[in-house]
């Protein structure tokens, strides 16, 4: 596999050409991908809130936002502006420190997890050796923030919502981690880059979704539960709990929860695409297309096109999944809390264990197809 475009190297050599020392050039480079990814994630989350409005409107045969910008595209921006300028209220007898800290604890791990999301061979902030494991461990911090929010709000609905959120989050983390583990076993690596590379070669046929059909479903169900999406949005079930742990929140702190939940949804969709749908790989392999057209794969312009195609592909898959999640929200009724925990512990957990065992067996039996 050719390394493709290396933006870091070219940027650093560009700065060195301007007369900067190597280490200084690296320092200038360091914040760039981080700022880029924070900006990009914010935009992606905002787009998904717009998508939620539009798709839900379509599902209910309404038109949805229309007048703020073309097709209501400016609604998310107006939302942010409104929440930023609202008064920041601490309700009576809340615990001010914990109340202010909780949204941050939910928000920051989600954004940190974007470190490992690859958009191309070199289009990732860090290719960590522990890769996908970082996401699993960071996502386990969120329940603490939820419990903190529930406790600090001094409101019974909030406390119940926080407890439900934590229970749901720790129960569904286990099937999620086990289904990821099956993929990791097939790829022989935790690194997201290696996981995608292992799925390249035969285009859509080599994606993990065909080899891990059970894990594919388990991951999606568990990811929806982790994101507190509709069939599983018990922590904020509005008929029962007002808004769960978010009840007392407003203004910027509410915005952090809101942005965190949508960023988490985008993150789950992206990682789902990476784990099961070949990440940045196209359904028809690019190298095959190149040889068909008689173009050298190492030509600069071809690599630029391939890299942008990779980004488009990743985002396309992620937004397809997001669309699916939003459709699910407007078609499926909410489960009860006991049904939710039953599903997690008595159904998904055994199935994912069996899936892991079967993957291990198949890997031993057919090392060629299941990554020896």
């Amino acid at each position: 596999m050719d390394s493709g475009i290396d933006l870091q190297q070219s940027f650093i050599s560009l700065l060195e050409g301007l007369g900067l020392s190597h280490s200084l050039a690296k320092v200038v480079w360091l914040p760039l991908p981080m700022v880029l990814i924070v900006g990009a994630v914010t935009v992606l989350a905002l787009v998904s809130t717009w998508l939620e409005r539009k798709v839900s409107a379509a599902a209910q045969q309404r038109i949805g936002p229309e007048f703020m910008g073309p097709q209501g595209l400016l609604v998310p921006a107006a939302d942010v502006l409104k929440l930023l300028t609202k008064e920041d209220v601490f309700p009576a007898k809340t615990d001010p420190w914990l109340f202010a800290l909780a949204p941050l604890l939910v928000f920051i791990p989600v954004f940190l997890s974007f470190l490992i999301v690859p958009f191309g061979q070199n289009l990732v902030i860090t290719d960590l050796g522990i890769g996908i494991f970082l996401w699993i461990s960071l996502s386990s911090i969120a329940p603490i923030g939820l419990l903190m929010a529930g406790y600090a709000s001094n409101n019974k609905y909030s406390l119940l919502g926080g407890l439900r959120a934590a229970a749901q989050s720790i129960s569904y983390e286990i099937p999620l981690a086990l289904s990821v583990l099956a993929v990791v076993m097939m790829s022989n690596s935790l690194s997201t880059i290696d996981i995608v590379n292992q799925q390249s070669g035969y285009g859509i046929l080599s994606w993990n979704m065909w080899r891990q059909p059970v894990g594919f479903l388990i991951f999606w169900i568990a990811a929806l539960a982790e994101c507190e999406r509709m069939p599983f949005d018990l922590p904020e079930a509005e008929e029962e709990l007002v808004a769960g742990y978010q009840t007392e929140y407003g203004a910027v702190k509410f915005m952090l929860f809101y942005a965190g939940s949508y960023a988490n949804l985008v993150l789950s969709a992206l990682l789902f695409a990476v784990l099961y749908m070949g990440g940045w790989e196209s359904p028809i392999p690019v190298s095959w297309l190149a040889s068909l057209l008689g173009v050298s794969e190492n030509a600069g312009w071809f690599q630029a096109i391939a890299a942008s195609l990779g980004i488009v592909m990743t985002l396309f898959k992620a937004y397809l999944l997001l669309f699916l999640a939003i459709l699910l929200r407007w078609t499926v009724p909410r489960v009860r809390i006991d049904q939710l925990l039953d599903l997690g512990w008595k159904f998904l957990l055994p199935i994912s264990l069996v899936n892991l065992l079967a993957t291990a067996g198949l890997k031993l039996a057919f090392p060629l197809a299941f990554g020896g």
Binding site: S23, G129, I130, F133, S137, P143, L159
Partner: protein, 198 residues
Amino acid sequence: MNLAEGVQIVSFGILAFMMLASAIGVVLLNNIVYSAFLLGVVFVSISGLYILLNAAFVAAAQILIYVGAVNVLILFGIMLVNKRRDFARIPNAWLNQGVTALVCGGLFALLSSMIIATPWSISTAPIAGDAALVEIGKHFFTDFLLPFELASVLLLMALIGAIVIARREFFPEEGEDLSAESNLTLPERPRELTGGRR
């Protein structure tokens, strides 16, 4: 000293301060919920120290297990068993606290003198870095197989124990007098494991 070393020293300082300060907070704060949250900060700072030691996997496992599981369960326990009750002041409480502080201080002095006095055999092997994961796996299935399996048996025992305790499903009938019960027992009684109503 280049940039990387400077960053390392500064982050070590910050992490060590965070860890010590929050550990002291865990012990000294009166509100048990604050203590539990600060315990999370302690775990996160320890995981930061692991990252400084190039042990990324251990750091992530630390966060997953201690912050994501242990600390969440502690918080969960505190918030579910929220018995609002004023405890009677114990006379001469300072004596208890003084003795505890003395014992803890003595333990600390003993352990630190042991750490300083022991001639540790420091490994000269190159730092594994990202390959550490593979090394850990190999050790788990060769020379550390027995402790690894024993730990899993221990966890299994805890699991079964938790299920047995959680099967208490009796709730007191109306009018039944429970005021004679002490503060330390739950109103639930264990249910017979097989057959019958309650």
